[in-house]
Symmetry: C2
Amino acid sequence: MALTFWYEFSSTYSYLSALRIEDAAKAAHVPVVWQPFLLGPIFKASGYGGSPNLMSKEKASYMWTDAARRADQRGHPFQRPLPFPQNSVLAARAAIALPPAKRPRFSKAIFAEVFANQRDIADPAVIVQAAATADLDAEAVLANGRSSEARAALFAAVEKAQERAIFGAPTFITSDHALFWGDDRLEDALAWEASGSQPDAR
Amino acid sequence: MALTFWYEFSSTYSYLSALRIEDAAKAAHVPVVWQPFLLGPIFKASGYGGSPNLMSKEKASYMWTDAARRADQRGHPFQRPLPFPQNSVLAARAAIALPPAKRPRFSKAIFAEVFANQRDIADPAVIVQAAATADLDAEAVLANGRSSEARAALFAAVEKAQERAIFGAPTFITSDHALFWGDDRLEDALAWEASGSQPDAR
């Protein structure tokens, strides 16, 4: 029994969830599986082809305002990433190659590089830096991220996401396959997983 | 000083907000101005051209699940509209032609026709029914909704929405022009309007 947290390193609202899911899940007594994946192939397969948050300049501009407000409310740092969206393939491969228990710490370090430090995670040096921040063997993290096993594992994760009808990130999937999309639904997803069904009136 | 509630009768999350904004605003001591508009022209002007909720079949399917869960949590009825999206032009003209004080009741009756009764609000008979439900002079509501004044007022509302950088519905705009998008941001918008700034940590 666990809630699966599907996240993408270039996703603004995935970042917001990554910073709070451990505390929220602990309070709800729900184990969480951190599952990195890529949105790019999913957006490409959709009717639109790109991020819906970048659909218009008005919507894109709002996303930055909204995310900054949310981060500020929670006392979390937030800077608009440069560049955006980022090429998150190498970071996602490095994360998926890690044992599950090491993913949260490394993933939070990667998210911090993107959304707090304005670094470009397409740069292998930034992956190494994040791994070091997470107290991991940085060169091994990079080497494993570049392996064919990591490439295959990430490809399989994207296929599984598509089978699960995931269309955005973050997405939370309960052990009975209920899907919740977006940082705003983290509490609902945890309550569902904790109780096995729809939470009561709020 | 008031919060402006921009809503579209064919918008699922506008319906969810319409059912709760009066109670929430009363609790926050914030007056609300009900401002009907149309999303169609705004989506047409955007890069994508349609509703982002219908961007892929996975996202569209999720929207129905999510909206039904939310309505259920709140004890509100919810049925998937037939047809969807609806042609909401006549209903929006009828709403905008009403004095502001009469808009909430009529608008909630229209929303109920769409999201509880599965009626098609493109049908003038449904507009008449909703006006009667709202204890209004139903024939006058329909006649005023068909007037050139109503047409011009709705056109002006859409132009104003575009000037305000509105890209979806519901949208809440504070008296100092802060924009909040989506039913999930109603509380933040009310708190901002009540205090004149960013709410404290939550």
